[in-house]
Amino acid sequence: MAIETTTTDGAVKAAPTPDRSRRTALAWLIARRALMGLVTLWCISVIVFVATQTMPGDVAKIILGPSATADQVAQLNKNLGLDQPLFSQYWDWLRNVLTGNMGNSLVSGQPVSELLSERIFNSATLTVMAMVLILPLSLLVGLLAAVFRDKLLDRSYLGVSLIVTATPDFVLGSLVVALFGTVVFKVLPPVSLIPPGDAPWQHPQELVMPLAVMVLVGVTYLSRLVRVSFIDVMESEYVQLAMLKGLSMRRILFRHALPNALAPSIPAASIMAAYTIAGSVVIEYLFAYPGIGSALVDAVAGHDLPMIQAIIMLMAAAFFCFNQLADVLGTLNKSR
């Protein structure tokens, strides 16, 4: 899974100047972030709009297919408001998006917001469950690797994490399906079809494999950061002093090292949540899980323009929010 830290540089820049008190600096930072955020979200909306409404190749033709007559195309253009000037098209579109009216699906004719609400709920459930598992597991794995640094355990852990990081999610997923779903052990269903109307947790068996892949990818990323920050803390003066004083290893680890090693991992967890959103497209498609990732793939296949716009805006906004959260958390950390 490709993960890129976006915090490092922005966080340094936004660090409060020494003459301001911490609290005002923080408020200032959050205000700046919020402003930047609005500008960025606006940019994203322009990108999505430009990409979908003004592409070469008529939208109406894409929707109707190559066999459409000129009359049909003109009629649809009129229905979609595509004959209006570009700026007023954008204005109408943005106003609708802001008021939560994302239009109707071109495939089923139902309102997009209605179609998506269950999908969003399913995706959110999967992500939250994955995060709940990832956080303690990464902490444990990272801690063990740091304690046994350069021993066999640590070295084999680093090897495995290098391989998992480099392997695309769909490859990992196919391996898991082959292992537990079809070829070797047939213990789990290979696809995660959740019937409409059911909550995902009513089908725990279907959730195991997608969760396993997400957790594997997440834990390898996050635990490496935990490991590094733990090693840093263990080498710091105050932990060395605690060791010299003869405090028990357990006390040092859990009372002194853990809180300090944890801090740098919190923004990373937020970044990871952001990347889980992008990664969910592949995982949901692989397991046929009814979330917004697989909805996006379906919408693209069916040229369902309003659905594509809504899902991409949603994903970009969520991705962006988690990134910003990571940035703010990272700065908080540094100023402490």
Binding site: D9, A166, F170
Partner: protein, 291 residues
Amino acid sequence: MIRTRPTEQGVQAPPQNLTRRVLTSKQTRLGLIMLVTMILFAIIGPFLTPHSPTAVIAKPYASPGDGLLLGADSLGRDIVSRILSGGINLTWMGIAATAGGVILGTAIGLVAAFAGGIVDTLLMRVVDVLLTFPTIIMAILFISMVGPSRWILVVLVAIGLTPGMARVMRGAARPVMRREHVMWARTIGLSSRHILMREVLPSVTSPLMVEIGLRLMWSVVGLASLSFLGFGVQPPDADWGLMVSENKDGLAIQPLAVLIPAACVALFTIGGNLFAEGAARVIGRTEGARS
């Protein structure tokens, strides 16, 4: 022309030396060998196919036999031939996207570091905005509108790689700007292009090398994933990512039709990561830079 040799501490070795140094690590060598093997396999493969990779010559999921070494895939095409010819697109697209992203990102990063001031701020703000848009989502957005043309995929992945690359290279180039030889070159009024190409670029080859390995891994992961989702190489052409999704429903009957292409993609990307991480470690050890 006289050129001041950098003499202060933390001097960076010339590239030939760097290559040799990086290759002292077993991990880097293994990564490079894997990369080269997979690239050669992908290039030579299409010439060795026993059958046409797109011809339907057997029943769907036919078992091995009848001249089909691994049997047939979901449509009855020879699996061996499809594996052999399924890597070439991924390889050239991956390399082209990496080259594009690395060159563009390095150019932006170096210019931002060199110019400083408003240009720097502006470029980095654009980079920030681009970074908040996940590559795969952006790629899906544009492909859904203009169709999955291969060159568009290459351009999209290259654009996706650019902001991260620009940020890393800007960070690497900033300290270089304060070095004597760069300041000297600026003082005597050499052209900006000359300074960036001849004075700055040779000093940032170490991070560049690590980044090339990483970006190659990411672009191959991205392109293979897009093919898997059906937005990359289109059927009936053979492609490893596409093969995984074409044959995943027959996993129980014909597991190798999924697992071998998946392994091919993984070997490629793991090779890239081994190289990048090994190189980062060697450079970190010998130059004291952060890995």
